[in-house]
């Protein structure tokens, strides 16, 4: 698209042009000419910044470096995330591409944008707060996801109070957004395992009381997804201490036994994968063993009829293993 190429503006020009256009979104009357012009400038600057970052498959490192430095100097990333909802449709996508491209930028073993963001927690929280606006939630969700790949940034979120907003976002948004929020919650809880294990161990009560609300959600998808995630968390070796704590708690066992009888087969099945951990525990605490023993006959009948249509050897083996365990109580 050569005819779009007017005189080449330098990266600092572009960043400052963009940065200056954002406040102009408030100038004049809503829907007025000056706002329209501001939006136009924003879109244009974003396009040109994107062009520098992506080049034609061959970006010039020097320009990219200047550009990145200027975005840090002007706190551009924060302004972009906070204001993205006011941009035009394509401009929002450009914001995501620019943000994520900068975030992936590496010089040797350094990640300059990650380092920059480590000192700018508000950017992470702004991306999370994007779930409050369904117009842009999936755009900010992509930015958040890219940040969560980096342990330092993921840790900031995990250790924050804002982290506990996830259940709210998951429960109050429409399907696509809710799933995106869930995916990012999962990312936070599964990507950097030792870091997460330490957190869960230290914050066990707060975390699980919040997480249990998701498992008990009335929303079919939330319930099914969170049960599945619970299974993954408990069965991860890194979370051994957390698992041990979890499977010693009789309320948890009761919840799983009830979920085994949920009306949804998928939920039953996910519950099975948590329930089995209680049963497989060779050193069951007495309160757990008591419940299992009291329900021994019922459980045996139940398990023998449980998902017999599944053609899965491993599942059948596990079920058989549980039956043997329960018989031996």
């Amino acid at each position: 698209m050569n005819f779009f190429k007017t005189k080449q503006r330098t990266p600092p020009d572009l960043v400052r042009g963009l940065r200056d256009a954002i406040p102009r979104l408030d100038h004049g009357a809503p829907g007025g000419e000056s706002r329209r012009k501001a939006n136009e400038d924003i879109s244009k600057n974003l396009q040109q910044i994107k062009a520098i970052l992506y080049g034609d498959g061959d970006p010039l490192p020097e320009l990219v470096a200047q550009l990145a430095q200027e975005t840090y100097n002007t706190d551009l990333l924060h302004h972009l995330v906070v204001n993205v909802a006011r941009f035009e449709f394509e401009a929002r996508k450009d914001v995501v591409q620019i943000f994520n491209n900068l975030l992936r930028r590496q010089i040797g073993t350094r990640w300059p944008t990650v380092e920059y963001l480590t000192g700018k927690h508000e950017v992470i929280f702004a991306a999370l707060a994007g779930y409050e606006n369904e117009e842009v939630a999936l755009n900010t969700g992509m930015i958040l996801k890219e940040m969560l790949r980096h342990e330092q940034l993921s840790k900031v979120l995990l250790y924050s109070d804002q982290f506990y907003k996830f259940p709210h976002y998951i429960e109050t948004t429409t399907f696509g957004i809710s799933c995106d929020a869930f995916a990012n919650l999962k990312e936070t809880l599964t990507r950097h395992k030792p870091m997460v294990a330490e957190y869960l161990d230290k914050n066990y009560d707060r975390f699980f009381s919040s997480f249990t609300t998701l498992i008990l959600s009335n929303n079919y998808v939330t319930k099914r997804q969170s049960l599945k995630l619970l299974g993954e968390i408990l069965l991860d070796r890194a979370n051994f201490n957390v698992m041990t704590k979890y499977i010693a708690n009789e309320a948890n066992l009761k919840m799983m036994m009830n979920l085994l009888r949920d009306k949804s087969k998928n939920i039953q099945f996910e519950a099975f994968h948590v329930f089995k951990v209680f049963v497989a525990n060779p050193k069951k605490p007495p309160q757990i063993e008591t419940i299992l023993r009291r329900n021994k006959d019922k459980l045996l009948v139940f398990l023998k009829n449980f998902h017999n249509d599944k053609e899965d050897e491993q599942f059948s083996d596990e079920k058989q293993f549980l039956i043997v365990q329960i018989q031996g109580l």
């Binding site: 799933c179 995106d180 051994f240 099945f269 309160q287 599944k310 899965d312």
Partner: protein, 517 residues
């Protein structure tokens, strides 16, 4: 919580059912707030065989597309376990519907193809492929605007949404040679499919439509590209030949094709309303009564229980999805971590003592039969069995290996599958990978059929048998399957090439069954 914030019926009214696909049903409806007509796809997630994450991924991609040449995504909502995906409604219907009164004249095709090219130009500039261009996925609005549907992802989207059953996503007729061979492909694969679609619009069917899809998987990579023959203008025939070049690099981009003479001559889109009117007249004259029946038999064919279903090329690639969701993520995922740990719970420490409480009384109904989960045997679960039959199961096995090496050892005689999976597991095109690998193997067999070749044995028969292992429950049955594998291996050793001959016989006999009907 605020669950009713998400209730689709707050915003949309569902009206007549306008379609039924493998993924669920499509309804016409309208937005209460704007009175605008919409199309609503409803998928029951409880019976869908896909991971919710996959569906979410697709919605993510759909939500980022905004073009007049692409059906617009409006939102998705959950009601119970039903997912409502609300999309733009195109009242003109699909090109395959509009073709029922007869094929299109060249002048209409030029308009449609131009609009498709604009849609593809947009998509490709967004770094996305459609991967399922064909008349059935081209919709017309009331005003004749042409929209690409099922889009984007279509590999992904229709993959997911139709994994449940074989809408024939990826039936091979529209696939380019490189897609079938999986030699790596890009946006030029859409250009090929566009060329095939142009032929379809002109002649009513894509090339090889009369052949069994399995055969077509061999023929497309092997034969010279189809040409548009018959009484068509030179520019049209030339346009098609540009799209259908074997080497993707030789095919022009969508943007370049927009400059082709055939396209530049095309009239305005509102001219296409004549096709809609023609279809209306034809329906008014009772054309669709006949059609209803045709349609039934036509759509039943891939839909259930026949040879189509047995082989199901359209969905071979789904098998990866299907297999994954049924056998791997849900089942193998968590337990694997656990078994691989080697801890086997043995070092779990014991807690303090306590009493069991009143669990028993609150759950006294646990043994009541009526409360137990329903037994299998619903049509949905029966279908799953079908879907995993024969060839389709392979990709499942393939995928299994990377996640589950100990499992793989016991049921996988052919190590090469590990490599396949590694190659494709991260790529956007993963799902079609396995199919395509298979067909590539098959195609090679055809090409080199002078040489004794054990490819058919190694890459088709043994893995197919291996895929049966997880589905039998007794040790005796597993022994029998092993014996079957050995028998094939022995036969191949003594009669080189016999496996391939056998498979060819089976393919032929499948075709004959179809012919006989």
């Amino acid at each position: 919580m605020d669950a009713h914030h998400q209730d689709p019926e707050e915003f949309y009214v569902k009206q007549d059912r306008i379609g039924k696909g493998s993924f669920g049903e499509v309804y016409k409806g309208y937005d209460k707030r704007t009175q605008k007509t919409v199309a609503i796809k409803i998928i029951d997630l409880e019976s869908a065989e896909d991971e919710i994450e996959d569906i979410q991924q697709e919605i993510q991609i759909l939500s980022q597309l905004d073009s007049p040449h692409v059906t617009k995504y409006h939102g998705s909502y959950l009601k119970g376990s039903n997912l409502w995906i609300v999309m733009e409604y195109c009242s003109g219907g699909s090109c395959s519907d509009l073709m029922k009164p007869g094929v299109f004249r060249e002048e209409y095709i030029a308009i449609i193809v131009r609009e498709l090219l604009r849609g593809l130009e947009y998509l490709h500039s967004e770094g996305k492929l459609h991967r399922d261009i064909k008349a059935a996925n081209i919709l017309l609005s009331a005003g004749g605007e042409v929209k690409l549907a099922d889009f984007g992802v279509s590999g992904q989207l229709s993959g997911t949404l139709s994994a449940k059953k074989n809408t024939f996503v990826g039936t091979p007729y529209w696939m380019s040679p490189e897609v079938i061979k999986q030699s790596g492909y890009d946006h030029k694969a859409d250009i090929w499919s566009l060329g095939i679609t142009a032929i379809e619009l002109a002649k009513g069917e894509p090339p090889y439509a009369e052949l069994h899809p399995m055969k077509v998987l061999f023929l497309i990579p092997k034969n010279p590209p189809p040409i548009l023959d018959g009484n068509f203008s030179k520019p049209f025939r030339e346009f098609v030949s540009y799209c259908l070049q074997r080497d993707p690099r030789d095919r022009p981009s969508a943007r370049d094709l927009l400059k082709h003479k055939f396209i530049r001559m095309a009239k305005k889109t509102n001219y296409l309303t004549e096709l809609i009117e023609r279809h209306e007249r034809w329906k008014a004259e009772g054309g669709d009564r006949q059609d209803e029946e045709d349609h039934h038999s036509a759509s039943d064919l891939p839909a259930s229980g026949d040879p189509e279903d047995l082989w199901d090329f359209g969905t071979v690639r789904h098998a990866a999805t299907v297999g994954r969701s049924q056998n791997q993520i849900q089942v193998s995922g968590p337990p694997l971590t656990w078994e691989n740990n080697g801890t086997r719970r043995s070092d779990a420490s014991s807690g303090s003592s306590g009493s069991g409480g009143s669990y028993m009384s609150t759950n006294s109904s646990i043994t009541v039969k009526g409360e137990l989960p329903p037994l299998p045997g619903s049509p949905a679960s029966a279908r799953r069995v079908d879907q995993q039959a024969t060839v389709r199961h392979m990709p499942d096995t393939v995928n299994a290996n990377s996640r589950n090496s100990h499992h793989a050892v016991q049921r996988q005689p052919s190590d090469e599958y590990d490599d396949y999976d590694d190659q494709y597991s991260d790529s956007y095109t993963t799902r079609s990978g396995s199919t395509a690998q298979l067909s590539e193997k098959l195609a090679q067999v055809q090409l080199e059929d002078d040489l004794p070749d054990t490819t058919m044995l190694d890459s088709v028969i043994l893995p197919a048998i291996a895929s049966l292992f997880p589905r039998v429950s007794s040790q005796e049955a597993r022994v029998a399957l092993s014996a079957l594998q050995r028998a094939f291996t022995d036969a191949e050793r003594i009669i080189p090439g016999v496996t391939m001959e056998l498979v060819n016989e089976i393919v032929d006999s499948v075709e004959h069954v179809e012919d006989d009907r």
